[in-house]
């Protein structure tokens, strides 16, 4: 969707919807929010709604960073320790590789 042709109120409401939607365990909405509205929030000349859009983008970026940190930590721990966890590791796995621990 081309943001050029949308009036500013609609831009604000779109940004808000993506921001609120990300709270439903959907960090990709926040990622899209940040990438999509970055230019609108920081690189365009000022307009009335821009302050709120800027705050939504910043909060989405913050949420995104938290999610990335948590997921990276969990994935690293799981890949490293799954074999040693024995039974618990097997019950947490969706597919277990054949022939390696």
């Amino acid at each position: 969707m081309n943001l050029e042709r949308i009036p500013n109120e609609e831009k604000l409401s779109l940004c808000r919807r993506y921001y609120l939607g990300g709270f439903a365990f959907l960090p990709f909405l926040w990622l899209v929010n940040v990438l999509w509205f970055f230019r609108e929030a920081f690189l365009k000349p000022t307009y009335t709604e821009q302050l709120q859009i800027k705050s939504y983008v910043k909060k989405s970026a913050l949420g995104l960073i938290v999610w990335v940190a948590v997921l990276t930590t969990w994935i690293t721990i799981f890949q490293h320790f799954r074999a040693q966890w024995g039974e618990v590791g097997d019950y947490l796995s969706f597919t277990i590789p054949l022939g390696t621990a």
């Binding site: 097997d90 054949l98 022939g99 390696t100």
Partner: protein, 648 residues
């Protein structure tokens, strides 16, 4: 590196061959590019992974095979070349027989420059002794276990080390594939490739292209039986396409009795006092499904079969006061699978007799190598502290001595404090004190220098035939071993059939033909996986029926369903449809034999109780795999490989 090159080559030529296939007008494809690159080795004898409650043993390869530059290990300098100085690691070692020992294999295991081993199996260069089994077989599942109070000072071979020549190689865990090269022609092909391309000229390193070999034996199971069974359960419950990772080792025990026992009446049999005569039916070696087990197993089987053949007509005419129960236990090499199952069934009242019916047990161990015609009667010192047991055992020994005196064979008994050797009798003693003897040709340690190895074959037993005999003549030729005690001439035939060639005219007349060569005594995975009963178990079953059964004139359909006839009793007998002796003109007329020979399941009680981590029962399983194969090809230099990377 070579794996990557091999992969690129494989994927590249697969693509090319498919393109060629599509564009070919005739529509018939033969993947000729692949045939020009790779020479497939057809006869592969791998080493596979086995697991028990706590460990994994055996060998594993990578999922897409392990590749390495060939090098033949003939001298010590070859060993240094492979392990430290050779410029083209990793190497695929072609190991001469003399180098297949513990020290060399452990050095290979610890080195990162070895990607696989192919062992040449031959008699040239074979050491004086080679036993890949442990020094104290089945030490944790016998009756003398350290943690129990029963003879704990006799545990872990404290008093006698039964297999002192054992190097424990079969129980090590290798992370590279180990194959055996048994076919002489195939070994020649590999040697030729090595001599053409890989041989060192005047001490300098050989140049590319070099001959390489790729071995595929990727095993699915890991860690131990508990993990593997748990993952199999998870797969069965939650996966769309469940994969079984491992299977328990299982097969059947064979038993018969002089007075038929009612097989539908389980538990204690009234007024039955039974003497059990037992032998083991299996063996193993380092490699999968290779177990000639001549001295370790066949000597006991043939002795018991000959005894049955001699005793049976006598017991039918003049029945002895006690029933004699002959049984062959399968799976004894792997923590007594067969005997533990039979004892378990007896304790649960799920067998035709129970332990209170058993009066005494005589087991025939390794009896083939008795020098000076002397046999030893081993007994259990702990149970003999009980007076009644001691009396019964002494009486058994006296009877054996008097019987042997008439045959010019001397029997002795080793010192009183020596425990029993590894034997099925130990599992019966775990259930209660029963008088028993184990007959063996060794007083202290085994006389068998090749215990549970590929070299425990006919030659180890001194069973050789003069050259130039046809197979039928060899079948009836009485070797020195057969001359010992042979009233029917069938000992010679048994020796031939079990040690040299299982596809002989006598076996063929009993049942459908088997493959060439001597039978292998590895227990395998049982009927669920491999179809009908394992060949060795079936041979013993049909031979017993032939020796002890009566011919009936039932038709084939009556033989399959004898319960419809009032004269036949399916509870007391089993009925076998036998093909009959083949003559020159015809294939022989089949007929129905009635015998009291039965099979009983030999699967460890740990798998029935679902206690996969059990310390009391065998927990051995064999891993599954997708493909096991080997191939040789030429690899190009590393510069070519780098260039290929740059271009792609």
């Amino acid at each position: 590196m070579y794996g990557v090159l091999g992969l690129l080559l494989t994927s590249g030529e697969n693509l090319m061959s498919r393109v060629m296939c599509v564009s070919s007008a005739a529509g018939v494809c033969s993947s000729s590019v692949e045939q020009k690159i790779y020479v497939e080795l057809n006869e592969t004898v791998p080493c596979v992974r086995l697991l028990n409650a706590t460990h994994q043993i055996g060998c594993q390869s990578s999922m897409s095979g392990d590749t390495g530059v060939l090098h033949v290990l003939e001298t010590q300098s070859d060993l240094d070349w492979i392990l430290s100085s050779g410029p083209h690691p990793p190497y695929m070692v072609i190991m001469e027989t003399a180098f297949f020992n513990r020290s060399v294999m452990m050095r290979m295991k610890n080195s990162s420059r070895v990607s696989g081993v192919a062992v040449i199996v031959s008699k040239t260069g074979l050491a004086q002794n080679f036993s890949p089994h442990t020094t104290c077989p089945n030490q944790n599942t016998g009756v003398y276990v350290y943690s129990e109070s029963y003879g704990s000072e006799l545990a872990n071979c404290n008093v006698t080390v039964w297999n002192p020549l054992g190097n424990g190689l079969s129980y090590e865990d290798f992370s590279f594939p180990v194959f055996a090269l048994k076919d002489e022609n195939q070994t020649q092909v590999i040697r030729k490739c090595y001599e053409d391309h890989n041989q060192r000229v005047n001490g300098s390193a050989p140049h590319y292209p070099l001959c390489a070999m790729q071995l595929f034996s990727h095993m699915h199971a890991v860690t131990d039986t508990v993990t593997c069974m748990r993952r199999t359960d998870l797969q069965n419950r939650f996966s769309i396409n469940p994969e079984v990772l491992c299977d328990p080792l299982s097969d059947f025990n064979v038993w018969t009795s002089t007075r038929p026992l009612n097989s539908s009446a389980k538990g204690h049999a009234a007024n039955e006092s039974v003497v059990i005569a037992a032998a083991r039916l299996d063996g193993r070696s380092f490699f999968w499904e290779q177990a000639p087990a001549a001295e370790g197993t066949v000597s006991g089987i043939i002795t018991l079969l000959a005894a049955i053949q001699a005793l049976y007509p006598v017991t039918q005419e003049a029945p002895p006061p006690r029933n004699i129960f002959f049984t062959f236990f399968q799976g004894e090499a792997f923590d007594y699978i067969g005997s533990s199952k039979m004892v378990y069934d007896m304790e649960k009242n799920d067998f035709v007799i129970d332990l209170k019916n058993v009066h005494s047990i005589l087991e025939i161990g390794q009896v083939g190598l008795h020098s000076g015609r002397s046999l030893w009667m081993h007994s259990d010192p702990v149970s003999r502290k009980n007076d009644s047991v001691n009396e019964a055992v002494s009486e058994m020994m006296n009877r054996m001595e008097s019987a042997a005196a008439g045959l010019s064979v001397s029997v002795g008994h080793p010192s009183f404090s020596q425990p029993l050797p590894p034997s099925s009798l130990q599992r019966f003693l775990r259930a209660g004190p029963i008088p028993g003897l184990v007959l063996a040709d060794h007083q202290k340690s085994f006389s068998n220098r090749y215990y549970e190895s590929m070299y425990d074959d006919a030659e180890n037993l001194n069973v050789t035939y003069p050259p130039g005999l046809t197979p039928d003549e060899q079948l009836v030729y009485e070797t020195d071993a057969a001359k010992v005690c042979d009233s029917c001439g069938c000992v010679a035939q048994l020796l031939y059939g079990f040690l040299v060639q299982k596809n002989n005219s006598w076996f063929r007349s009993l049942l459908l033909s088997a493959g060439p060569g001597p039978p292998q005594f590895y227990i395998g995975l049982g009927p669920r996986i491999h179809g009908p009963v394992h060949s060795v178990t079936r041979f013993v079953q049909y031979i017993l029926a032939n020796l002890t059964g009566t011919v009936t004139n039932l038709t084939e359909s009556q033989c399959q369903n004898p319960s419809e006839l009032s004269t036949e009793n399916k509870d007391l007998f089993s009925y076998f449809w036998v093909s009959g002796p083949a003559s020159v003109n015809s294939t022989g007329e089949p007929f129905c034999v009635r015998a009291s020979v039965r099979l009983s399941e030999a699967v460890s009680p740990a798998f029935e109780l679902l206690e996969y981590g059990s310390r009391n029962y065998s927990t051995w399983t064999e891993s599954r795999w997708k493909s096991i194969r080997a191939r040789i090809f030429l690899v190009a230099s590393r510069e070519l490989e780098v260039m290929q990377h740059r271009w792609s």
